[in-house]
Each structure stands twice: as structure tokens, then as C-alpha cells.
Symmetry: C2
Subunit: 430 residues, 2 copies
């Protein structure tokens, strides 16, 4: 945007160094600030100019709607980042372009995807879900029967345990977009059947404490989930953002354990075996353990911790010139609600409290914003979130000191972006 | 589902006639009710059976994810209802299959669509939004500049003024689905720039009271909106459900006036002319006036009123047999939040209060549910919503008495479904 003139800025109060502005003051007199920023004056324009400007698409009828609509052809660059094949050549992941999106809901077509042996094509009439093991009565359900069960609908985030891994692996910050680094998180409205109904129906034996949850994919993905969690807020998700969940999210059904790492939300779910101890599945052993700095292994670290990312401005974006911007991003915690997000524009020396867009929901992405007057000089913008239990984000340095150098799961350290004096935005370690 | 045995029902309390059950009691002992309903016992099943049941897709690797994902091929029937061409042959509409969906968010690909001359293909770099007329400084904005403005994100419904028209036109209830009758409503997370910033930037002259809002489509859609509303909660919507809005929803930008009838949320918005009186546009004159029973015309009836629809079970669905079901639907009000939804299973003689799925948001779809034990006899299920201001829904008879017989806009009368003793569900007038 353009140069800030003196008058509008007079009304503004800097709430932290580097041009972070007071939100209320901005709302009260922001228009005068904006007025010098982005709009072009049309003073003296004759009304004929308005009508002469009518483009071709106002003179020729358009096309009918599609039975199932699609985004504009001019947004065809907004796609998942192509599937990344990890060294195992089995696990592949496609990230959400969070730097291209806004709000706290991710379109299902852009939800991040991770799978261990491709996406199965499951004909729903041939699929069943069963609960067996330490139960009074082993039971199985058809998809159709589950669709008749009582359901709940809740907005939650889903995040891969390995999200933001690039910022751990690389000793110096890689020049990547927010989506390339942090795009293994998405937000959806998930609708499905509370697990407690199904567990009670089968009747858990007194020594039943864990459920081995298995997906019907060729990777035969298996995770062990404590029954306590399944009785708390877990569902068999059948719908995502209003429609039936899609094959890449587990069609015809997936386990959804709010706040837990992505891979525990077992896709293509077809079986739960109730046991007294966890079964130590191959996936837990080979993929989803955390390695501590002291050489010990931390297993069953289920919760995704409190975290935040600024998406606007963010890596590889370009600010056209100095002046007014809104810093915007989102925060989340696998333990509950976001209580506050603080933003710094001077690399973490001074902080201001951002505005949170409500309603603030538990274990859901929460959008935060703060007005910013960029003076055109080098700036480092940083965010840190605090959840309702007072948990906050460690620095990258703190985080790394706790884990083995090759362990990258559960990185919730503070993220930052460098804005160079030419307006280029790039990944940065504070 | 199947027969209800005596034991589980003993624990249940009927809160209204016809088998509507107490929700708390149901939650406490619902499992025993469900246990006789939907699951198949696997008692005696050897663990070998579990593994022998592994289907082909567990033995062969699946496919990679798409850059922009799609629903399962087995859900290809879940599409918008094909565009309906009205007598004018100009206005066409495609409805949302609300009977196939759940939750309170509609995937953008299934959002209902109405347009007056097709969907324009707008290249965003050539599109501008201008405010002129009774302003101190006529201004225009490029799409790119608006994308840098401060934004808000809110979940709201959008409903066509003509929604549920079939239930007014037809003297006897037509055998249609909930989508075919009531599918001109959808819910989304809308993100965009508050209009107040832009209006203040242009500077409204003291006699400026209305904005003539024009779309850049060949239909040249125009509606007059009071400035008071634009200063309240209106936005220039740039994102829907996280991604840029789609061509059929107004790409690259639309006006969004929460709670107002759909056509006022002018798509492909490119111009607002501020005036002292409304301009009496062709659309207001020919399409969007309400005709009273006494012959007088009611113009500028902006708000969509409080309303509710049961989607499960609903028209043309089939209940397999008597037993337990969850009645599920959604309610909304263009004036604010939903306060309560009452459900009847005996055609409106007795009523019970349904559970509302939170968070309850203003001018947004709110999902309601209530457990129901269907005794297999003819039943008429009905819902009526009450908003935070105490507004409720009229009966169809009441509604019709107020309007000319051919006037079908703003029908918010009570809807009901007949469940025949063979389990067939059909449209019904109470």
C-alpha cells in the first residue's frame, strides 16, 4: 500500500514497537489511515465514466452453475502443495496452502493429507466398523446404521505431529511459504457419532483401558487410544464441512480425537480392539515416537500443543511499499481454547495483544489480527499464543534443547517472519 | 433400525407425545436403547474372522491425493439440484441438497445459486469496486488493494427470499425432498472487509441514506441497501469457507449483508452509488416486492425471518422400521440468534424442546436434535424456532392469510413431514 501521511497517524497509538497499533483507536479512526493507503480518488469522474467502464461480462450472459461447483479459474494456483514423499517412500503428505486462505475453516478440497500407503477406494456398503476385544458383546455396524445414530457437530483443527518440521530440521531458515512449513494443519466442522454410545453398546470390561484403532487402508494404519479419550470427546466422523467426508479424509468414516495428533484420527476406520495395555503398533514404534535430547524415547505424546502462525504477511509474500497492513494469522491448542495471542514487530522485544475473532472454540483454529504500520525498515514479526490453561509456546532454541536433533514431532515453537526493507517476507529464526 | 425392547425404554421419559424422548435421560442410558437398534452382535466371532474380512483395498496400495480434492465417487448423487428455470427464463436457481448434508456449514460446491443472467467470468485484475454519489470523495479499489484491508470472519446463513416457495404455491403438499422445497439456504464462513471502512474513506454526505449496489453481471443486478445496515455488519466478502469466493458466489467479491434476503448480497459487486432515497431498481420492482392479501405492495422487506426445517427424517426418505431415530434439522433467524427450537411428533398437539448444537451464532444456521422413538404408526413431525427477540414461525395458514396468493417471498411458516406407517416420509401441511 502507500505512504502514510501525518494526519491519520496522529490519531494512532503504537501498542508495541515497530508500528503495532491499538485496535480500538484504529477502528475509530482507521478510515482516515486507510484513505491514504489503498483507494484511488475518482474526483471529477462523470457518471458516464461509470457506465462506459462496463466490461464484456456485463453485456453477454454468463454460464449456468455446475452441479458441484469449483473455484475460479483465476485461483487455480491455490491448491495443496504436491505430495511430499518422505525417505520411507511410504508416507506421503500434501500440505494446505494456509498462506492463500483466510478464516478458520479449510475447504475439504484443500485439507492437508498424510497417508502411509495411498488413499483406498472404499465402497460404503461393503464397509463395517467393529468393536471387539475386552467387551461384553463384540459388535459391528454398517455405515448405513451409523448414519442413523445421534450425532454431534464441532469445529476443530487437525494437525500432523510433524507439522512445522522444516523449522527444526534446517539449521538456518529455509525460504519457504507458510503453507510449505506449517501447512499440515486444517480446520473443519466435523460431524459424527460420539464413541461413547458405541463403546457402551459393546460394554467395556473392567480391565479395558485402551483401544487399538485400525484403518482399512493398505498401510493398515494402527494407533492405540486411551478409552478415557474415546469416552470424552471422540467421534466417528461421517461428515466434514457439511458433506460426507472424502476419501482422502477417511471415507466412509474416520476416528476423530479432538486435539490429538493427526495420525491418531485413524482414517478409513474399521476396527477397535479393546485391551488392557496399548498394543505397541508398528506406526507407534516406527513413526510416532519423540526422541528426547537425553536419548530416551517419549511415546504416546498425544496432544498437539498451543501454537500460532502469522499467515499475512508470510514467507515469500511481497509488501508493495511501507504503510498500513493488517497482520493476520491463527492460533490453536490441542488442550482447549485460545486465551490470547501476542504479536511483536521487533523480533520479540516488545509485544502487543492481538484481536481474536470469535466465537473462540475449544481445540479449534482461532483467527487473530492486529493493525500494523510498517515503516519500510527491516522488521521481524512474531506471534505467540497462550491457551486457557496458561500454556504458551517455547522458543525454537528451548524446543530443540529438549529433543534429539532428528526428532521433529510436536514442534510448537514460536514462528517468525523477516520483512526486509524491500518488502520481501521470508522465514526467520528469532 | 429395529424394534425397541422393553428394558431400555423403561429408562426413557417421553417429553412430548408420539415418542419424543428426554435428551438427558437418553444420554445417560441411550446406549442400551441403541444396542437393540442398529448394531449386529458378533458374539463368538473368532479373531481370525476379523482378519479374513480384510478387503482388497487393504492389500493393494491406494492412490495419491489430488491437488484439489473431491468427494467420493459413491457420493456422486449429492449434488445441487439442477438449475430451475423460472417463468421469466432469466432467473435460474440451483438448490442445496440439505437433506443429504449435516452440520451448519455448506461446502461451497453445494451452496445454492440464483442468478439473473448467468455466472460471469471475471478476471480479477480488471475488476474494481467504486463508491460514488453523495460522498465527499468518490473512490475505487482494486481487488488486490481490498485484499490488504482489515478483515473479519463470521459464520452466517444465506437464504433466497423465495425459499420454501413450493409450500406456498401448491394447495396440497408436493412430494419433494427437503432440498427441493427448502434448499435455497446455505451456511458459510464469510471473510471480508467491513463496509464501514470504505464508506468512511469516501466520506458520506449528510443527506446520504441509501446505497444502490450493482453487480457486474449481464443481469446488472441492483439492490438498494440502507447505509445503516452497511455501517452495522455488512462486509465485502472475499473469502468463503477459507478460500476465495467462487464465481457462482460473486468472484472476485460480493456484498454480504447478514440476515438480509439472498439477492441483496449483491454478487460480482462493482459499484455503490450513495443516494438520499432508494433508486427503485428494476429488480426491486419486478422481482423482490411482496404482495399483500389486501392488494398493497410491501417493498424493502429485507430480513429473513426466524425459521426451521427438519432434514432427518425428511421428504422422500424411508425409515426402515420402527424404533429409535434422531430427529435433526437446523434453524436460523435474520434478526439474531436462535433461542429455542420446539419439535412435535404428533402434528403440533404437544411439543418438546430440542437440543441446540453450539456455539449458537447470530444470523447463522443452528443445528437442533431430539431423540425419537417411532412406534411405527403414522406420525407428523414438526419444528418451530424462536429467536432471541421472541419471534417465532407462523402456521402456513396464518402466513397465506397475509399475502396475495401468488406472492411467495419470505415464507417462514412452520414445516412438517408425514411419516406413514410404512416408514415413507413425505411433505405435509399441518
Amino acid at each position: 500500500m502507500s505512504n502514510i501521511k501525518k494526519d491519520p497517524l496522529k490519531n494512532q497509538i503504537e501498542v508495541a514497537k515497530g508500528g503495532l497499533l491499538d485496535r480500538r483507536r484504529f477502528l475509530a479512526s482507521g478510515a482516515s489511515l486507510l484513505s491514504v493507503a489503498a483507494a484511488s480518488s475518482m474526483s471529477g469522474m462523470a457518471s458516464a465514466d461509470v457506465f462506459d467502464s462496463h466490461p464484456k461480462h456485463m453485456k453477454t450472459p454468463g454460464i449456468p452453475s455446475k452441479l458441484y461447483g469449483k473455484p475460479s479459474q483465476y485461483e487455480s494456483h491455490v491448491v495443496r502443495l504436491p505430495e511430499h514423499v518422505y525417505s520411507s517412500a511410504i508416507i506421503t503428505a500434501a500440505f494446505t496452502p494456509i498462506d492463500q486462505l483466510n478464516g478458520v475453516i479449510t475447504p475439504a478440497g484443500l485439507h492437508f493429507v498424510v497417508h502411509h500407503s495411498g488413499i483406498p477406494d472404499i465402497e460404503p456398503s461393503g464397509h463395517q466398523f467393529m468393536i471387539h476385544g475386552l467387551v461384553n458383546k463384540p459388535l459391528k455396524w454398517s455405515v448405513e446404521s451409523l448414519l442413523n445414530y445421534p450425532m454431534v457437530s464441532r469445529i476443530h483443527f487437525l494437525e500432523c505431529a510433524g507439522n512445522s518440521g522444516p523449522n527444526i530440521i534446517a539449521n538456518s531458515p529455509m525460504d519457504m511459504t507458510a503453507g510449505q512449513i506449517h501447512g499440515q494443519i486444517s480446520g473443519s466442522l466435523w460431524t459424527g457419532v460420539p464413541l461413547k454410545y458405541l463403546l457402551d453398546e459393546a460394554g467395556i470390561k473392567p480391565n479395558g483401558k485402551w483401544a487399538m484403532c485400525e484403518g482399512a487402508d493398505a498401510g493398515n494404519h494402527v494407533r492405540n487410544v486411551p478409552l478415557e479419550k474415546l469416552y470424552d470427546d471422540a467421534i466417528i466422523a461421517l461428515y466434514q464441512n457439511g458433506e460426507r467426508i472424502r476419501p482422502d479424509q477417511g471415507y466412509p468414516m474416520r476416528l476423530f480425537v479432538p486435539g490429538y495428533e493427526g495420525n491418531m484420527n485413524v482414517k478409513w476406520l474399521h476396527r477397535m480392539e479393546i485391551s488392557d495395555v496399548p498394543s505397541q503398533s508398528k506406526d507407534e514404534q516406527s513413526q510416532y515416537a519423540d526422541f528426547r535430547a537425553d536419548g530416551r524415547i517419549k511415546q504416546y505424546s498425544f496432544n498437539m500443543e498451543v501454537k500460532s502462525v502469522i499467515t499475512k504477511p508470510s514467507g515469500k509474500q511481497q509488501l508493495p511499499k511501507d504503510g498500513f497492513y493488517e497482520i493476520s494469522g491463527f492460533a490453536w491448542s490441542g488442550r482447549g481454547k485460545i486465551k490470547a495471542v501476542e504479536v511483536s514487530a521487533d523480533g520479540g522485544k516488545t509485544w502487543a495483544t492481538a484481536n481474536l475473532e470469535g466465537p473462540i472454540m475449544s481445540k479449534a483454529m482461532t483467527r487473530f489480527t492486529i493493525p500494523w504500520n510498517w515503516n519500510g525498515q527491516k522488521a521481524v514479526i512474531v506471534s505467540r499464543a497462550i491457551d486457557e490453561f496458561g500454556n504458551t509456546q517455547p522458543t525454537r532454541e528451548d524446543w530443540i534443547s529438549r529433543y534429539a536433533r532428528y526428532s521433529l514431532g510436536h514442534n510448537n515453537s514460536i514462528n517468525s517472519w523477516l520483512v526486509s526493507n524491500d518488502g520481501k517476507v521470508s522465514n526467520y529464526y528469532v
